[in-house]
């Protein structure tokens, strides 16, 4: 058994080296934590899921969750680097031996960054089967045309995973057939006409729009079987949801710790505000909810690591953890009162950051509809 306490200690040490001011400044300037991500990679914590034969640690999702939880509870913005952990999963599970040998060791060493995946389009979100981006076969490769949106960290990535149609909608009997997955060299694609446009958004998440205009990618870019790419993308979603749930747990613990410390020291009417049950109770409630959600995250990660079905648990973990962290964020804002709005206290930054997980990577409503339909067997609503 790996000592998870040591993982926490080392991750905490790295975070403390940078400090919260580092994240505050990046947020202000909308810059990317390049040096932080590099250090997290070279110290081995972002290649934790890559098997040892490809230079990673070969540990499970549970250990990966610990890394992201610790990052978040130390005040770092885990969203800036989490994808380097799991985007490679598609390549690992569906890539050829040749592709895996070529790319995984270099991803592991940090030489290549694979932390972007392009699925969402302006007119299709969770209804992934309605994407329109097309990959047309040529003699020696593929020509891509279409548009993607909310593609995060693409400017800070060397490679990206792309989902595109290789058959027009309706050409095959199964709705989920006719899609293929590609591993795209971003620099090459840019030379061939890929346009990347930044989206100015509420948090420093480095999201972009992509415009493919006759972009050529070579034959060997395809991952897995042609027309069977939909599953290859979908089976990475559980890992993503569980990992993001663990970030929410970290955020929640961050808010609770900050709230407790502030409530103990802030004096109004000559007494600590923490003496007021109006302040204490919400914090105590958030603490209980974070602890409960943490159990579901653990359960989902354990099932995932055992290779068992975990769709429902992954979804519930994400929803419960995101709800708990959002509530803890709101409580921290209440506890800090006016000072919560001051950038200097970092509460408002983390509050904005944790709000994302009400929406991404899958919204609350869609999780509820998944549980209603697939767990409770209620009639389909769409």
């Amino acid at each position: 058994m790996i000592d998870t306490k040591q993982i926490r200690e080392s991750v905490a040490t790295i975070c403390q080296k940078y400090g919260e001011e580092y994240w505050r400044n990046l947020d202000k300037k909308k810059e990317y934590p390049t040096d932080f991500v590099k250090e997290m990679t070279t110290s081995g914590f972002l290649n934790i899921l890559i098997p040892q034969e490809y230079g990673g640690a070969g540990l499970g999702l549970k250990e990966a969750c610990i890394v992201l939880e610790e990052l978040s509870l130390q005040g770092a913005h885990a969203g800036a680097c989490h994808a380097q952990m799991y985007v490679m999963g598609t390549l690992l599970r569906h890539g050829s031996d040749k592709q895996k040998k070529e790319y995984l060791p270099r991803i592991s060493s940090g030489e290549l960054r694979l932390q972007s995946f392009a699925v969402t389009e302006p007119n299709s979100g969770t209804d992934t089967t309605s994407i329109k981006t097309m990959a047309k076969k040529t003699n020696d490769g593929w020509i891509i045309n279409g548009q993607k949106v909310w593609i995060s960290r693409v400017e800070h990535s060397d490679l990206m995973i792309l989902l595109a149609r290789t058959k027009p909608q309706g050409a095959l009997p199964k709705k989920t057939d006719g899609f293929s997955v590609f591993l795209v060299d971003i620099e090459q694609a840019k030379e061939s006409g890929l346009k990347i446009v930044k989206i100015d958004s509420m948090i420093n998440h480095h999201s972009c729009e992509l415009f493919f205009d006759d972009v050529f990618i070579p034959d060997e870019s395809i991952i897995g079987e042609e027309d069977k790419g939909f599953r290859a993308i979908m089976d990475g979603m559980n890992a993503e949801r569980i990992l993001i749930a663990s970030e929410c747990i970290g955020d929640g613990k961050y808010f609770i710790e900050k709230s407790v410390n502030y409530a103990k020291t802030r004096k109004i009417f000559n007494r600590e505000i923490g003496m007021n049950q109006g302040i204490q109770f919400p914090i105590a409630e958030c603490y209980s909810q974070i602890e409960a959600a943490s159990l579901m995250v653990d359960k989902a990660a354990t099932l995932f690591d055992e290779g068992k079905k975990c769709g429902a648990e992954a979804n519930m973990a994400k929803m419960l953890a995101a709800d708990a962290s959002w509530k803890a964020g709101t409580t921290a804002m209440e506890t800090f009162g006016g000072f919560g709005f001051s950038k200097e206290y970092d509460i408002e930054r983390k509050f904005r950051e944790t709000r994302l997980y009400q929406t991404a990577p899958v919204s609350r409503n869609l999780i509820l509809s998944y549980i209603a339909e697939h767990v409770l067997n209620l009639p389909r609503s769409f």
Binding site: M1, I2, D3, K5, Q6, I7, E9, S10, T13, I14, T42, S43, G44, F45, N47, I48, A57
Partner: protein
């Protein structure tokens, strides 16, 4: 050359110490414990000496409760080659005295044959600053304390010491006991591959009796109390008032 590095498990430096209700010491139940920061610096230096090719093996030793295993695992993950845990007590509040620690380390030294012992100058819990000196006396080895720079050349270790007047550089003959100061280096954290490797490194567990050392209690803590809380300051209107106040408080 083998290097021995004793590492103590202490209250984490970030944790606010609380005095136990009966005043017998600091409450250590359910609080975060870590490797004594000065020992971390000593270990880092040992690793650097080994990386330069001037040592073959680093042995980390910890003396105390069973949970010191964690501290040793950290030492192994940082880069020690193997570890020895001396279970000397089952009560985390029982601080093993410097002379006993020196006796245990002297016995381990005879058994393991290191030629350099690198220790923290003091533990941040009891601040004794005594073990290294006692150990060198026990072993009749050279000693150099408060090192802020270390250079090993053959059988000589050149140590720059932080003394009151500035820096003093001395050469000590190996075998030697060197205690390290804060500015010697910045300890590394354990990378994930090293945490993984540490799982397979040997951690031996022994009792003081195995070494023929008896745990004795020579010192008695009379009282432990928290520092007086800081009192409010005064705002004075002018220099004359300030001079007056100073005269009042320190005398003419």
């Amino acid at each position: 050359m083998k290097i021995l590095v004793p590492v103590k498990r202490v209250l984490d430096y970030n944790v606010k110490a609380r005095v136990k209700a009966d005043g017998s010491g600091i409450d250590l139940a359910n609080v975060k414990m870590s490797m004594n920061p000065f020992d971390e610096i000593a270990l880092e230096e040992a690793i650097r000496i080994k990386e330069k090719g001037n040592a073959e093996e680093i042995i980390a030793v910890s003396i105390g409760v069973q949970q010191n295993q964690e501290t040793l695992r950290t030492a192994l993950a940082m880069g020690a080659d193997r570890a020895i845990l001396v279970v000397a007590t089952d009560d985390v509040h029982n601080d093993i005295e410097p002379l006993t620690v020196a006796n245990i380390l002297a016995a381990i030294t005879l058994k393991e044959g290191p030629s350099l012992i690198l220790c923290g100058k003091q533990a941040i819990d009891n601040d004794f600053n005594a073990t290294a000196q006692m150990l060198s006396a026990k072993l009749k080895w050279s000693q150099a304390t408060f090192a802020s720079e270390i250079d090993v050349k053959d059988d000589i270790i050149r140590v720059t010491r932080e003394v009151d007047g500035g820096l003093q550089t001395i050469d000590a003959k190996i075998p030697a006991v060197v205690s390290v100061d804060l500015r010697l280096n910045e300890p590394r954290y354990a990378s994930l591959p090293n945490i993984m490797k540490a799982k397979r490194k040997p951690l031996e567990e022994i009792n003081p009796a195995d070494l023929g050392v008896e745990i004795t209690q020579r010192l008695k803590v009379i009282e432990t109390k928290e520092p007086d809380s800081r009192e409010a300051g005064l705002i004075l209107e002018n220099i004359d008032q300030l001079v007056e106040k100073i005269q009042e408080n320190v005398g003419g």
